[in-house]
Symmetry: C2
Subunit: 113 residues, 2 copies
DNA sequence: TTGTTGGTTCACCATATGGTGAATTATAAG
DNA sequence: CTTATAATTCACCATATGGTGAACCAACAA
């Protein structure tokens, strides 16, 4: 996989329930690693990998103060994904000939009857 | 990976530039497999796996008539992802204390000065 | 019937992903 | 100084992912 467009990382990061839950949690406020990891049934090393994926995708940011690392959400990166999706919807909605697909699917069904 | 929530599959499917391009293409109208595969620099077997991922996620549908399989977009599935994202944005925007994050980050910087 | 075309299946491979337990480091707290 | 806590690193493992080439099947065309 040579390609590494930003959307690749963002969508990949969001394709995991643990990571989505972390995003969801962080939207309500920053939190340190161990506290974030609390609800999940996995070891710290595994959880850190999830955080690394999120941070690599730019969805979160983290700073270490003393021995505690605090994670923050980077909300505008979510916007990048949202934008791509709404662009696609715009294309879909803008189609003049969407009816063709419907008719086609009906024709298919007739053959099955 | 035991968990298989619908969003897992949808986001995973969208985390690949080839698959996003296929979605983009199909939004403009249905197309047969070989024609869809045309622009991409990979063999048919590899491309079929991408289609399988998209179909598994419910993002596309396909029917075979004669020897040609025609693929259609399933646009409402995109909506599921869009909805999750806009829900998250709602949480973010609804936060009363977003300022706290900003102040915290400023405090961090002061210590570095 | 003989190609040719559109898809499919198969066996295989390299790398990525998501997890583990154990050892390690660094900062706080007693 | 000693110990507990927060996080990190390391070696390792099973499975998933994304690709290949070659063989194959089914349908249309000549």
């Amino acid at each position: 996989m040579v390609n590494q467009q930003p959307l690749d990382g963002i969508f990949h990061a969001l394709a995991d329930p643990t990571r989505r839950a972390v995003v969801h949690r962080l939207l309500k406020g920053a939190a340190p690693v161990t506290q974030l990891a609390g609800p999940f049934d996995m070891g710290l090393p595994a959880f850190l990998k999830h955080l690394a994926v999120l941070e690599g995708a730019g969805l979160i940011r983290s700073e270490k103060r003393g021995r505690v690392r605090t994670c923050h959400i980077e909300a505008d990166r979510l916007g990048a994904a949202e934008t791509w999706l709404s662009d696609q919807r715009a294309i879909w909605q803008g189609r003049a000939d969407r009816l063709a697909d419907f008719i086609e699917s009906q024709t298919d069904q007739e053959h099955e009857i």
